[in-house]
Amino acid sequence: MTRGEFRTLMTGLAFTSPWILGFLIFTLYPVAASIYYSFCDYDVLSRPVWIGTLNYHDMLTDAVFWKSLKNTFYYALVSLPLGLILSLLVAVLLNNSVVGRPAFRTFFFLPSLVPAVALAMLWLWIFNGEFGILNYAMNWAWTKIGVFAAWVSAFFSDAPLHWPKPHFPNWLAEEQWVMPAIIMTSLWGIGGTVVIYLAALQDVPRELYESADIDGASTWTKLRHITVPMISPVIYFNLIMGIIGALQVFSGPFIMFGGSGPNRSALFYAIYIYQNAFEYNQMGYACAMAWVLFLIILALTWLATRATRKHVYYAGE
């Protein structure tokens, strides 16, 4: 290294030093400390006591840990594919040249700007079993269908049609409906993903579509064989971000249920970490859980990368 190169290196380091120091102090140190604490009985206030792998061992027998893991996977497995497909479809639609396209794009993006707390309060009212607009709308639609059905059946028989009066779910109070409700709320935030898809869609070469048109390809064929392969790196990116986001979901359910929901049906992994760390003062256990989550995300990301390797197309290669 010449003197000049050394000087350049030093200048570069000097310019990045605020970040480097910040990273070392506020990120690397806490991360390293959390590894240590995960092997300790640590309640934040007293000195941590080394207990070896007991925290990890306890997780195996902690039924609530498994429940939170199960809930989180259930959520991820349904909401992630649903979100990816729906946002791709919306992006493709918004990519068409229609009148007022910028306005439509804005409408779809707007919801993802609403703060999580405001959103959670909003959903609380939408899902309200008695006054909620969701049940109101379903009830309205069901009644209208009933009127129509009665009108049709009058042509065939004289007996009045018995149109059943269904019980619509009390979304946030009934255990089995809690997760579907949370998944619905997650779809509200697809705007961000849509924008990323839209950017990628702009980059797909027009001539590919033109030649496909000449060959008489249908819309579906074009989507399947041109659009999706051409934007596959972006789908891959959204998949990875989606996995990470879905496994770390916290704020929405936390605000909506203020804890774990009926029979712990809304207890997500991140919420259980929070409860252990800040409500039960089991910081050591929470750190261990956080590291297990990290390993799970790492493994899933690696799996996703492996599984999609053959299907992701990079123009440069």
């Binding site: 605020p18 006591v49 008695e130 006054f131 019980h167 009926p262």
Partner: protein, 473 residues
């Protein structure tokens, strides 16, 4: 030139980090006022009129002497913030906590025992209604002194009683009587031959009761409302939640009987009907609170309920009486007692001055002023004769008498109470929706809490001697 630039950057970032550290850890402002008085920082949970009432006491204290100046700071989620501030080594001098948090804070060494200072000041159990002194004790030490106390009682809506043909001035004397009155007070809407009719539950035919195909318009009582004390319903059946030593007794026959009673309501009125009715309730602190809105005729609530009645439903005719127990002859006047407390966090810079203020609040005149301001009763053993007359709550004596009852019970003094509550809520949920029988649900809860409790006790056994020595100093 470049070297100089480099140096400038190093200095700048070093200064930046330095400021961040110093700002986070060390006192940034002087702890003396301009006229040389010691500033005592006091974090308290109250806002609104409760905050004003406390501020008046703080002002009185600051005027009464010239050595100490108390600065009150309203803090939300105070339990967590005090825990973190104490862990970070910069706690306030006085922490306004809840009595049920004492065990956890004491065991973790977050607050300091007051025994020595209490002995010097000549303050002892005889100065208080015993239950409130007990609430401030843990493992033989006293960790805090009360600021304002509370007990729970039955509140009932007299107008709804009258409409149901009940004597509005006679509350139920036993739990069975309460159940029977609740049926009369319950109004449902039902389809009768295509016509919608509003009828009292007691006027339904046996078949209609069996079918439960109605919607609830008003309810006599819901054991799930407000749901804050579900885990302690067993107290009204003579149950306890632990054996005061190492055994969790969530699944005792009495606690199981309490859960049986709890689930008898969704079984009687229909789980779905109850859930749908429950979805119409607004926030506790709003006119849509089901009791304040006249949708539930009876509710268990603390001494503070009067404030909410006068704020959101000022015209309501209501009464308060001890919540009846299953066997009133054996266990009369059951209540849950709790109190707001003032403690001195470990690492507080001015413990002596802090105690001065706590002692001031716990003397008769300021305490009565504070408790009238917050519409509570005094936790002190001696109360001035005109306190009750001056008090705006017409039923204040119900609450203070309950505090003196031998069945004034409180949450188990164990450091994992938060976990206990969570497990019991899950158990009540499971039994409520019929996913588990009350027995099974409580068995699971008891096993889980016991498992956690054993872990805590294992740790306690290791540090016990060291801790007790430290606390005795």
């Amino acid at each position: 030139m470049k070297i100089r630039l480099f140096l400038v950057f190093v200095c700048l970032s070093a200064a930046g980090i330095g400021i961040a550290f110093v700002g986070g850890c060390a006192p940034t402002k002087s702890d003396k006022t301009a006229d040389g008085r010691t500033i005592v920082t006091y974090w308290e949970k109250w806002t609104g009129f409760e905050g004003d009432a406390m501020q008046a006491i703080v002002d009185d204290f600051n005027k009464s002497q010239d050595r100490i100046f108390v600065e009150r700071l309203p803090v939300s989620s105070i339990d967590r913030k005090i825990m973190l501030a104490t862990a970070g080594g910069d706690p306030p001098d006085i922490a306004g906590l809840w009595s049920w948090a004492i065990a956890n804070y004491a065991e973790k060494g977050a607050i300091t025992p007051l025994n020595k200072m209490l002995a010097e000041a000549g303050i002892s159990k005889t100065n208080y209604i015993p239950v409130f002194w007990d609430l401030c004790s843990y493992r033989g030490f006293t960790w805090a002194l009360p600021s304002t106390p509370a007990t729970m009682a039955l509140h009932w809506n007299k107008k709804m009683f009258r409409e149901a043909g009940l004597d509005p001035d006679v509350p139920p004397k036993s739990l069975d009587e309460l159940d029977a009155m609740a049926e009369k007070l319950t109004v449902v809407q039902i389809d009768r031959k295509g016509k919608k009719a509003r009828v009292r539950y007691t006027d339904l035919t046996p078949e209609e009761k069996e079918a439960r195909d109605f919607s609830i318009v008003q309810l006599g009582i819901s054991p799930a409302e407000p749901g804050w004390y579900n885990q302690m319903w067993g107290y009204w059946f003579g149950g306890r939640l632990w054996d005061s030593d190492r055994k969790i007794t969530a699944n005792s026959p009495e606690n199981a009987a309490a859960l049986d009673w709890f689930v008898s309501y969704p079984r009687k009125y229909g789980l779905r009907n109850m859930q749908t009715f429950g979805a119409t309730f607004g926030n506790f602190s709003s006119p849509q609170n089901p009791f304040l809105a006249g949708r539930i005729a009876m509710v268990i609530q603390g001494v503070w309920m009067y404030n909410f009645i006068s704020k959101y439903s000022p015209g309501m005719e209501w009464g308060a009486a001890p919540f009846p127990s299953k066997d009133p002859a054996k266990t009369p006047n059951v209540t849950i007692a709790e109190c707001d407390v003032m403690a001195i966090p470990k690492g507080a810079r001015h413990p002596k001055e802090a105690f001065e203020f706590i002692r001031y609040v716990n003397s008769q005149a300021p305490m009565e002023k504070l408790c009238i301001g917050q519409r509570k009763f005094s936790p002190l053993a001696i109360c001035s004769p005109d306190f009750v007359q001056k008090h705006p709550n017409p039923f204040i004596e119900v609450f203070s008498d309950l505090a003196r009852s031998e069945n004034a019970l409180y949450v188990p003094q164990i450091s994992i109470w938060n976990e206990y509550v969570e497990e019991m809520n899950v158990a009540y949920d499971r039994a409520n929706i019929g996913a588990k029988t009350p027995r099974d649900a409580l068995t699971i809860a008891e096993e889980r809490v016991q498992w956690k409790f054993d872990r805590i006790m294992r740790r306690w056994d290791k540090v016990k001697e060291e801790r007790i020595k430290e606390w005795s100093q």
